[in-house]
């Protein structure tokens, strides 16, 4: 499945270039949904979305405005881990330049310092986020409702056995209201450092949480074009607006049992 890029560039042809990290190996929780939502919304804000992919061994592209990454199975994580360490400097540099990024699940874990498996061996991450993850025998599965000062209520679905703890320079993305989030001890869900967001939530995350999508897009637009987001113009595809469909989807998800 490829993300359709509009055939006719908009009048301004202002590109927002989104890099998907390891879409071949890290994609298991509908992470394509996040990519698609960004592509569409960038377009509906009047910019030209360009989707780039980075897989192991590829040349890391220049001029990236935003990075996204998803979750993988153990086999997928093994395949990308060495390569990821190789681009670590690049990623940390982009983070320090305030590049917006969204890392879900497996890549959230590997954006931290390490993942310690059940048998005590440590898989190094790139340390963009000040978090550490420990493998457990408990799989945390189910619907999640959380509250964020920056993004309001964040609604999603978690499915992970690694449990993540925040160090002093990472702030939690949200506080869990229903569900577990990062771990079973504290109420934190996800992490944030500058404009880098990490989260365990999928479903996919962005369709039901457009505030986060618009934060990523708005940040990229501000940095690249020094302008605020213009008006949002989504075509109406149903008897009610996209915004109303989104609100209903959030209500339905928040009301579901864990």
């Amino acid at each position: 499945m490829t993300v359709p890029v509009p055939s006719e560039p908009t009048a301004s042809d202002q590109q927002i270039r989104v890099l998907q990290l390891y879409p071949r190996d890290m994609n298991i929780y509908g992470d394509y949904g996040n990519a698609l939502v960004l592509m569409r919304r960038i377009q509906w804000y009047g910019f030209t979305p360009v989707m780039l992919s980075y897989n192991p061994g590829d040349e890391f592209p220049e001029d990236v405005d935003m990075l996204i990454g998803g979750g993988g199975q153990d086999s997928g994580q093994d395949r990308i881990q060495q390569d990821l360490l190789g681009i670590g400097d690049r990623l940390r540099g982009l983070a320090e330049q305030d590049t917006p990024m969204l890392m879900i699940c497996g890549l959230y874990q590997l954006f931290g310092h390490f993942f310690e498996t059940r048998d005590g061996s440590r898989i190094s991450g790139v340390g963009v986020l000040d978090v550490e993850t420990y493998g457990t025998d408990n799989r945390l599965i189910g619907n999640v409702v959380s509250e964020s000062a920056d993004f309001g209520q964040i609604i999603g679905y978690e499915n992970h056995s690694g449990q993540t703890y925040l160090g002093p320079t990472a702030e939690p993305l949200a506080q869990v209201v229903v569900g577990e989030g990062n771990n079973q001890r504290d109420p934190h869900e996800g992490a944030r450092y500058r404009n880098v967001l990490g989260s365990y939530l999928h479903g996919a995350l962005l369709p039901k949480n457009p505030a986060i999508a618009d934060f990523l897009i708005g940040t990229a637009v501000r940095q690249k074009f020094e302008q605020e987001l213009p008006a949002f113009e989504a075509p109406q595809s149903a008897p009610v607006s996209l915004q109303t469909l989104t609100e209903h989807a959030r209500e339905a998800a928040a009301a579901r049992p864990r």
Binding site: Y29, A238, P239, T246
Partner: protein, 430 residues
Amino acid sequence: MIRLRPPRPATIVLGKAARALTRLRGGSGSAFPGLVVERLDPSFLAGVLAQLPRGVVVVSGTNGKTTTTKMVVELLRGQGLRVFTNRSGSNFTRGVVASMLGEIGPTGRLNADIAVLELDEAHAVHFVRAVNPQYSLLLNVMRDQLDRFGEIDTTAGLLRTIAEHTTEGVVLNREDSRVAAIADSLSTQQVKYFGLAPELRSHFPSDDELHGAGSGVVSQQPEADVLLTGLGTQQGTFRMGAEEISSELTVNGAYNIYNAAAALALVRLVLGDDTDRGALLASLRRASPAFGRGESLTVGGQPVDLVLVKNPSGFRLGLSSFPAEGVATMIAINDNYADGRDMSWLWDVGFESLAHKGVAMVSGVRTYDMALRLSYDGVSIAAHEPDLGKALDDFLAAHPDVPKRIFCTYTAMLALRKRLGTYTEVEAFN
């Protein structure tokens, strides 16, 4: 090794009584009588199955096992065999035991030559430790709703366990890399494959290819005993050994026709030279899909097709197997346990093929997740109504003169079939 003996008459009597009692109280459930028997005699199941002259066949995989099991049963019955089979249910062994209680004589003998059992991956290990099947057919490992087993490689491991516990022969899907790799751990069993001609592979996109992992370069593949070489509307061409046959089919849709190839390969392995070719082709033509798997009902003189969708691959295959033109489409998505609670999977299905005609109705608990999915793919939605019964009424009323197709998750399908029963005759399910 436990020596298997026929079940005790007392167990059978009590089990049958439990079954009769359940029925009397209006229940159709299999859990209670199964539980009674399991408590009385834990080796009941293995004991009964061990008496079958041609043994036990299991069919497993994440997609299509119900229809494939049904086709295997029909093909074997066409060969004159008496076949015991199970209907899908919540608890595998108790369900099989309950089915047995309906058919078993007082001496514990099942009136059958062979058992063909649909085995859910989740119950595989428990079952094959109790009963070693003579034959197994392993269809595929596609992403499930993700929260059911957590990991696709775990599911592949469960299928491998089935194969390792199979005593005579195993049939594998050559085109599913995880299933084909199971051959590596088999040494004593015969291994046969069913497969696709290269030019048909584009009809069956895999999860991995979808995400750009499949390089398209096919490394050396083993010979397939049954190869699907041609696909039409209710028509398929199969190369079996040296001969190629084209057949009209009752089943529809690319994936059901590929399942027919799987069923043929299994029957050829079980019967070998005893296969009656003429009878095999006749039953192949007549074999029909399991309920909800390309099942067609008639309402107001127009067909209403129900297509069960339970994971991205199944949904994609459903969309690519049945053209959207000339049909009013409804999609009903629930998120109960049997449907999968995580909606992420909807984002791994492309809906562009519906963009031209649009979707007439979206329904189910997760109406608005589905509506968002369609909206982000540029597919227009004429109506949305979370209540399944009302949605069905509105959908049927708004499109009286065209064929209709409903893509639905498992529990949505159960509810819709019930409602459809007020319009037309719907075959009872369990």
